[in-house]
């Protein structure tokens, strides 16, 4: 949690600041991806970096996600610390071989001799009216793969701290940013800080129900918690911040305390993040739970374009509030 919150930054600014500071600190850090230099990415997250660090360290690539992710692996093995930019999380599909068969396995297959200190930054999140190929939240895939770490911040503060940790980590880290959150503001201290992986953050304390929420869903859960308070339900909101490593203890302890839990994640609800976390809680807090763990994820459909359709495919403050109310027997 922020200590000396002297100023507010947007989520995008926090990301940019983390990159700039790490690039100043360590000459080996470099960035590559599509339109990262010329345009500072379509989301303008990287604006200004090429001016400071030059085209030797901020490199515009062709539209070759597999190729330049693979280059990230090789560059990381041989002395650079690349931050690979994959514009939309949907394009992870193109990088899976490099990420999963190469990056994740190099260290292990080589008996621990080679390392891959690479960060792959990408996005997640729907409701941007971008349709099925630009709206997915595919973080469950890398979370499934040993050898990768997966971070997904939900505030500007976490974004900066986790990204610095990712860059300093000796392993491949997949870093998911909710593209709808780039303009979200929050306190970010001026001093250098990092946030350890595998440490969940209690975003709000509560006594009656545990809401585990990730990335984009943390704000949604906090909003729902406000509403719940109005009907006398005290909700605890916990953000694991990294799906791997996963801070099982904090999640389980909270569920033991509240005796009710739900998991809210913007990835598809099936065979994804909610299944894992719900299982961890159902197992760890088995003898304390008064009701089944409730899971909420994206509807099991490709994300539709049309606003009235798209809006019903992801959990909202209202749907989370209602589900929590039912779970707490206040319906």
């Amino acid at each position: 949690m922020p200590e000396a919150a002297t100023r507010e930054l947007t989520f995008a600014q926090a990301i940019r600041e983390a990159l700039a500071e790490e690039m100043r600190r360590d000459k080996r850090v470099c960035i590559f991806g599509e339109d990262v230099a010329e345009a500072g990415t379509p989301f303008k997250v990287l604006s200004g970096l090429v001016e400071e660090f030059g085209r030797e360290r901020v490199l515009d690539t062709p539209i070759s996600e597999a190729g330049f992710t693979g280059m990230g692996v090789g560059a990381a093995m041989t002395g650079l610390r690349p931050v690979v930019d994959i514009m939309f999380g949907d394009f992870l599909t193109l990088t899976m071989d490099q990420l999963v068969n190469q990056a994740a396995k190099v260290h292990y297959m080589s008996g621990g001799t080679w390392k891959v200190p690479m960060v792959l930054r990408t996005t997640l999140g729907a409701t941007r009216r971008s349709a099925a190929q630009h709206s997915q939240s595919l973080h469950a895939w890398p979370s499934h793969i040993p050898g990768l770490k997966v971070a997904m911040p939900s505030t500007p503060y976490d974004a900066k701290g986790l990204l610095k940790t990712a860059i300093r980590d000796e392993n491949p880290v997949v870093f998911f940013e909710d593209k709808m959150m780039y303009k979200l503001k929050g306190p970010v201290p001026e001093e250098d800080y990092t946030i350890p992986f595998g440490v969940a953050d209690v975003k709000r304390e509560g006594a009656d129900i545990t809401m585990v929420a990730t990335s984009s869903m943390v704000q949604v859960a906090l909003g729902a918690a406000e509403k719940l308070e109005q009907i006398g339900v005290s909700a605890e909101v916990i953000d694991p911040r990294t799906t791997w490593p996963l801070d099982e203890k904090t999640l389980v302890e909270s569920a033991k305390k509240t005796s009710r839990a739900m998991v809210i994640d913007e990835g598809y609800g099936r065979y994804g993040v909610t299944g894992e976390i719900a299982s961890v809680i159902a197992e760890g807090a088995f003898y304390s739970l008064e009701a089944p763990v409730k899971r909420m994820g994206a509807m099991h459909v490709p994300i539709p374009f049309s606003p009235p359709l798209e809006d019903v495919t992801v959990p909202t403050e209202q749907t989370v509030f209602e589900a929590a109310r039912v779970l707490c027997g206040k319906a």
Partner: protein, 332 residues
Amino acid sequence: MTIATEQSKVIDGVKVEQWVRMYRRMVMVREFEENVNELYTRALMPGLAHLYIGEEAVAVGICEALRETDYITSTHRGHGHCLAKGAAPDRMFAELLGKKAGYCKGKGGSMHIADPATGNLGANAIVGGSAGIATGAALSAKRLGTGQVTVCFFGEGALGQGVLYEVMNLAALWKLPVIYVCENNLYNEYTHFSETTAGEMSSRGMAFGVPAESVNGQDVRVVYAAAQRLVERARRGEGPAFLICNTYRYHGHHVGDINREYYRSKQEEQEWKTKRDPIKNYAAWMIENKVADTTKLEEIQKEVHAEMKAAVEFAIAAPYPSPEEAEQDVYA
């Protein structure tokens, strides 16, 4: 007015009727896109769209060489392809606005217009994402002996995607009836293609056994002639081709890309717009060669203008799908 009625007269080896249709189609595309831009500015369209203005001669020239049953695959910048292949503007606008009357019932939006009736296998928001689909459709045509040809449209940015070479190789090996049409509008989003493309662009075809040509994409007559030749060649079973059409997009990468000076100059834009406009130059040629006169062309413009206005109104008035529909059409 004799010229306009003599539809079957042949000029430069092509029927007047066809020349006129190409003009109308180019005007349609441009008018359609102007309306899209307006819908965006008026905040009536959800999301973004990538306008085809400036590139009209490519889609129109190519599709003029195709039969209705032939296939196309399209891109994020796909409205022109869809219209040129015969899509109805009203259902397209409806789709862009997320309405139930749209080609995809509102599920696809600007980047995913698809329509079996006009052989449109779908626009694709993954750069290079439809190369496999197009080549597979060509495999079907060959295996089933239907005589259909498939055109795979993509921007020069897609030359960065390895899958394109994988399928070109396969198309060459299996002599599949597919034409890879590369729309080189100089930019991959905000990056000039010279920063992303090593070597000679046309050699990207030959290296995989696919004969390549490069043409002026601002001249519909040139595009049509090349397409005609390559499509017929493919139809005869002589295999795929790679056609580079050099062109330019007048607007931003998408409707929200307004300040472009950091990546390309106003002067460059101005030059393309004034000297190489595919519609203006083609109109001049038509008049000069008595394919049509000014009156006729103005008449077409008016008709198209009215058609588009009506189509936009239809789309605005059309109802949204109901939320329950979100769960439909996942499985066939």
